[in-house]
C-alpha cells in the first residue's frame, strides 16, 4: 500500500499546481505576469500528471510512454519558471528565453528517442523506472543551471527591493527551493542510487508558499477576499474526505456495511463540524489575518475622534499617535508639525522618540518633503544625508502632511513590532489618513487664532465695562478735588472761617474716599470673574453666586441696552462641581449673546428682558435657563449655531466662536446644552450640570 504514496504525490502535485495556475490566471487574464505563472503551472501539471500515470502503469510500453511524457514536463518547467521570474522581478532577458526555446525544441524532439530515455526497468520497488540515454545528462545539466540562474535573479531582487515586494520575493524563493528540493529526489534512482523520491510531495510546497504569498502579500497583485469562503471550502473538503474514507473503510471491514458506514460517518460529521469550523476560523485568523487591520475602521475611528475634538490640536495629535501605534503595531512613531514661527518642524506627539528633535526648513528631510510632497521609504532612496535624518527619528517611512501645497508637518513611522515592512496596502490607507490629520491640524490652528481674537473681543467688552464703571467714581474724585482747590483760592478773599474750612475739607475727603471705595469694589468684581492661570481646577460652585457675579460684570452693557433682568433662583439651588472661571465664561457668553439678540430685534424697553432661572431636576441634575426676548434663531440656522465660525451678527461684530466655546466648556464640565427658539420672539438656552456631591 505504501507504494501508492509515489503516484499519488504526483497527482496531488498536479492538482495543486493546476488549481493555483487557473486561479491566478482567472484573477487577471491580461497580465503577462499571471500568464507566465500559468504557463509554469501547466508545465508542472504536465510533469506531475504524467508522473502519476507512469507510476500507476501496469505494463512496459505504457510506462515508457508516460515517463517520456513526464519528462517533457520536466523540460518545460525550468524555462517556464525562469520566464515567470523575469516577469515577476520585471527584468528583461530576451536572449535567455530564445535560447531556452531552442533547447526545449531540441530536448522535446528527442524525448521519444532512446538517446534520451533508453528503456524502463525494475528498480527498488518500482517496476518501470527509466534508464537515461546520453542526452538525458545534458537535459539535467540544463535543468540545474536554469534553476540556479533563476534563484540568482530572485536572490538579487530580494536584496534590492523593499516593502511588500520583498516579502513576495521571499515566499517565491522559499517556495521554489522547497519545490525543487522535493523534485530532485526523483533523480537519484536514475543514476542507480537507491533513494526513492520520498520528498516528491514537496513540489506542492511551492504551491503552498505561492498561495500564502498571494493571500498575505498580494503576490501578482491578487487580493483575496477569503476568510469565510476559504474556511467553508476547507471544511467541506475535510468533511467530504472523512465521509469518503470512513465509508470506504467500513465497507472494507464490515461486509454489507454501507448503511452502518453511513451512520458512523454521519455521527462523526455531526460532532466534528462545529469544533472543526472554530478551529479553522482560528487558524485562518491567526496565520492569515493576524497582522491585518481594518483600514475602514481605522479611518472611521480617526475621523470620529477628530470630529469630536476638532478644535483641539493636542487632542487630534494624541488620537492620531495612539491610533496608529495600535493599528500598525509600531515600535516608535512621531508627528512633526511646523512651529508658530514657521521655521522649524518640531515633535507634536510621539512615542519612543526624543521629543527635543527638530528639523529646520533646509534640512535634507524637510527639503525633500517640501520638494516632492511624497512619502519617503527606507531603501528606495539612497541619499545618505536623507537616511541620516531618517535614522535620527528611527523612521522607516515618512509621510508628509500637506495642506494647500504647504508642508504642515510629517509623520515618522518606525519599525513594526511584527517585523513586517510597509506594504502598498498600508500606504493606501495611511495617505488619506495623513490628509485628514493635515486638515484637522490646520483647522485647529485657525480656531486657536480666531479664539485669541474672540478673547480680545470679550476683553473689549470687559474693558468698556470697567472704563464706564470706574469712569463715574473717577469723575467724582477728579471734580471734587479740583472744585475744592478752586474754592480754596477764594477762601481768604471771602473770609471763610477756620471751622467752615475744616468742614469743607472733611467733606471733600469723604467724597473722595467713598468714590475710591467704589473703584476698589469694581476691580475686585472683575478679578473675581476671571482668575488667570487657574484653568481646569474644579471646585464646588454656587450657581446663584456665579450668576450674580456675571450679571455685575455685564451690568453696564445691560443698563445701556435698557435690558431688564428677571431672576427665578430658589435659595436651595444646589451647587455644581465645575471650573468656576469656565462657568463664568459660559454665563457671560450666553448673557451677552442674549443682550445682543435683544438689541438686534429693536424691541421696546418694556419688551427687552432676560430671564434667568435655576431649577433642580431629578437624577441629581440642575438646569440653568437663560431666556431672552430677542430676535430668535431662524429655523435654517438652528443646526449651525454651535459650529465654530458661524455667526448671525453683523460683519466684524462677532467671531462666531461664542457658542462653540460655550459648548466646548459645557462639555468640559460634564454638562449639556440645548436651546429652543422662535424667530422674532426669543431664545432660551438650557444648560444642565450634575449636582456636586455633598462630601
Amino acid at each position: 500500500m505504501g507504494f501508492l504514496y509515489f503516484p499519488y504525490s504526483g497527482l496531488v502535485n498536479a492538482v495543486a499546481a493546476l488549481a493555483v495556475g487557473i486561479f491566478v490566471l482567472s484573477k487577471n487574464f491580461k497580465s503577462s505576469l499571471n500568464r507566465s505563472y500559468a504557463i509554469f503551472a501547466v508545465s508542472v501539471t504536465i510533469w506531475a500528471f504524467n508522473y502519476f500515470i507512469w507510476l500507476m502503469s501496469k505494463e512496459y510500453t505504457q510506462a515508457l510512454f508516460f515517463i517520456r511524457a513526464t519528462m517533457i514536463g520536466a523540460i518545460l518547467i525550468p524555462a517556464a519558471f525562469l520566464y515567470f521570474v523575469t516577469k515577476f522581478v520585471e527584468t528583461k532577458r530576451a536572449w535567455v528565453h530564445i535560447l531556452n526555446i531552442v533547447l526545449i525544441a531540441i530536448f522535446v524532439s528527442f524525448s521519444y528517442s532512446p538517446i534520451y530515455i533508453q528503456r524502463v526497468e525494475h528498480r527498488l520497488f518500482f517496476p518501470f523506472w527509466p534508464v537515461p540515454g546520453w542526452l538525458f545528462h545534458f537535459m539535467l545539466a540544463y535543468f540545474v543551471l536554469e534553476l540556479v540562474y533563476a534563484h540568482g535573479i530572485l536572490w538579487n531582487a530580494w536584496r534590492h527591493e523593499d516593502g511588500a515586494k520583498k516579502e513576495q520575493i521571499k515566499y517565491v524563493l522559499f517556495g521554489i527551493m522547497t519545490g525543487f528540493i522535493g523534485g530532485c529526489t526523483n533523480y537519484f534512482l536514475w543514476y542507480n542510487i537507491p533513494f526513492p523520491p520520498y520528498l516528491n510531495i514537496l513540489v506542492s510546497g511551492f504551491v503552498v508558499f505561492v498561495a500564502y504569498a498571494i493571500v498575505k502579500h498580494q503576490l501578482m497583485n491578487i487580493e483575496v477576499l477569503i476568510k469565510r469562503s476559504l474556511i467553508f471550502a476547507s471544511l467541506f473538503t475535510v468533511i467530504f474526505g472523512v465521509f469518503v474514507s470512513i465509508t470506504v473503510l467500513t465497507q472494507l471491514l464490515i461486509a454489507g456495511g454501507r448503511l452502518l458506514g453511513l451512520a458512523i460517518s454521519s455521527i462523526i460529521i455531526i460532532f466534528t463540524v462545529r469544533p472543526l469550523e472554530d478551529f479553522l476560523i482560528r487558524i485562518t485568523d491567526k496565520y492569515l489575518f493576524q497582522k491585518k487591520y481594518d483600514p475602514l475602521q481605522l479611518l472611521k475611528t480617526f475621523s470620529d475622534t477628530v470630529l469630536s475634538s476638532v478644535l483641539d490640536q493636542t487632542a487630534i495629535i494624541k488620537t492620531a499617535v495612539d491610533l496608529l501605534i495600535k493599528a500598525l503595531g509600531l515600535e516608535n512613531f512621531a508627528i512633526f508639525l511646523i512651529n508658530k514661527d514657521g521655521d522649524k518642524y518640531e515633535v507634536a506627539g510621539s512615542s519612543g522618540i526624543d521629543t527635543a528633535i527638530s528639523f529646520s526648513g533646509n534640512s535634507y528631510l524637510i527639503s525633500y518633503l517640501n520638494k516632492t510632497t511624497s512619502l519617503i521609504g527606507r531603501k528606495k532612496y539612497e541619499s545618505p544625508e536623507l537616511m541620516q535624518d531618517m535614522d535620527m527619528i528611527k523612521a522607516e517611512l515618512c509621510i508628509p502632511l500637506v495642506f494647500h501645497k504647504n508642508l504642515v508637518g510629517f509623520l515618522a513611522f518606525g519599525k513594526r513590532k511584527s517585523g513586517n515592512d510597509y506594504t502598498n496596502e498600508d500606504i493606501d490607507v495611511l495617505v488619506p489618513l495623513t490628509r485628514d490629520i493635515a486638515i484637522a491640524v490646520v483647522y485647529a490652528r485657525l480656531y486657536e487664532d480666531v479664539r485669541q481674537k474672540d478673547k480680545l473681543a470679550t476683553l473689549g467688552t470687559l474693558v468698556a465695562g470697567i472704563k464706564h464703571e470706574i469712569g463715574n467714581p473717577l469723575s467724582g474724585i477728579l471734580t471734587s478735588t479740583q472744585l475744592f482747590m478752586k474754592e480754596m483760592e477764594g477762601w481768604d478773599a471771602l473770609g471763610v472761617s477756620q471751622k467752615d474750612r475744616e468742614t469743607r475739607f472733611r467733606k471733600t475727603l469723604e467724597d473722595v474716599l467713598e468714590e475710591s471705595r467704589k473703584i476698589s469694589r469694581i476691580t475686585k468684581k472683575f478679578t473675581d470673574f476671571a482668575r488667570p492661570g487657574d484653568e481646569g481646577i474644579k471646585e464646588k460652585v454656587d450657581i446663584a453666586d456665579s450668576i450674580k457675579n456675571t450679571l455685575e460684570i455685564l451690568e453696564n452693557e445691560l443698563t445701556l441696552k435698557h435690558i431688564k433682568i428677571e431672576q427665578k433662583i430658589t435659595s436651595d439651588a444646589p451647587s455644581i462641581f465645575v471650573d468656576k472661571d469656565q462657568i463664568h465664561q459660559i454665563l457671560f457668553n450666553l448673557l451677552r449673546n442674549a443682550a445682543q439678540a435683544i438689541e438686534m430685534s429693536h424691541k421696546s424697553k418694556e419688551e427687552s428682558r432676560i430671564s434667568i432661572a435655576v431649577e433642580k431636576q431629578v437624577e441629581g441634575k440642575v438646569a440653568i435657563y437663560i431666556s431672552d426676548t430677542g430676535c430668535g434663531i431662524p429655523e435654517e440656522k438652528k443646526i449651525k449655531i454651535f459650529e465654530p465660525f458661524f455667526t448671525t451678527k453683523q460683519k466684524g461684530k462677532g467671531t462666531g466662536l461664542g457658542l462653540a466655546i460655550v459648548r466646548q466648556l459645557v462639555g468640559k464640565n460634564r454638562g449639556d446644552i440645548s436651546f429652543t427658539s422662535k424667530e422674532g420672539e426669543g431664545t432660551t438656552f438650557t444648560i444642565v450640570f450634575p449636582v456636586a456631591n455633598n462630601e
Binding site: S475, G476, T479, S480, Q482, L483
Partner: protein, 123 residues
C-alpha cells in the same frame, strides 16, 4: 446783562454737582441747571430754553442722543454738547446726523478744559 443759561444732564450726580459749583465760581455769569434724568432734562429745556445743554450719552431713562435730538426741536437755538465715556460707530453716526456742537470724553481730568470747551461753544 442776561445770564447765560446752561443745562447739565448726567446721572452721575456728584459729577454734575461739582461741575455746577465749579462753574458758579469761575463763571458767575452762568446760570447752571442740573438734573440726573433725561426726562427731567427735556422739561427744563422746554421751560428755560438754555443757551447750552451738556448731556451724558448713556443714561437709565432716555439716551443722550435722544435728548439732543429733541432739544433741536424744543429749543433750536440751544447749543448741544455730548459728554460720554465712549461711543460706538452707530451712535457716532446718529450724532453726526443730529448735529452737535462738541463731544467731550469722560473722565474729564481737568475741569478747566471743560469750562473752556463750554465757553468756546457759547462763543
Amino acid at each position: 446783562m442776561n445770564k447765560v443759561k446752561i443745562l447739565l444732564i448726567d446721572d452721575n450726580v456728584r459729577f454734575i454737582n461739582n461741575v455746577c459749583r465749579y462753574l458758579n465760581i469761575v463763571a458767575p455769569n452762568y446760570e447752571v441747571f442740573t438734573t440726573g434724568t433725561g426726562d427731567d432734562g427735556l422739561r427744563i429745556l422746554e421751560k428755560e430754553k438754555p443757551d447750552l445743554v451738556l448731556c451724558d450719552l448713556f443714561m437709565l431713562d432716555v439716551d443722550g442722543d435722544e435728548v439732543v435730538e429733541k432739544a433741536k426741536v424744543i429749543s433750536p437755538r440751544t447749543k448741544r454738547i455730548i459728554i460720554t465715556a465712549y461711543t460706538d460707530e452707530k451712535t457716532e453716526e446718529r450724532l453726526k446726523k443730529i448735529g452737535i456742537d462738541d463731544i467731550i470724553y469722560k473722565p474729564i481730568e481737568d475741569i478747566e478744559t471743560l469750562v473752556s470747551r463750554i465757553k468756546e461753544v457759547i462763543g
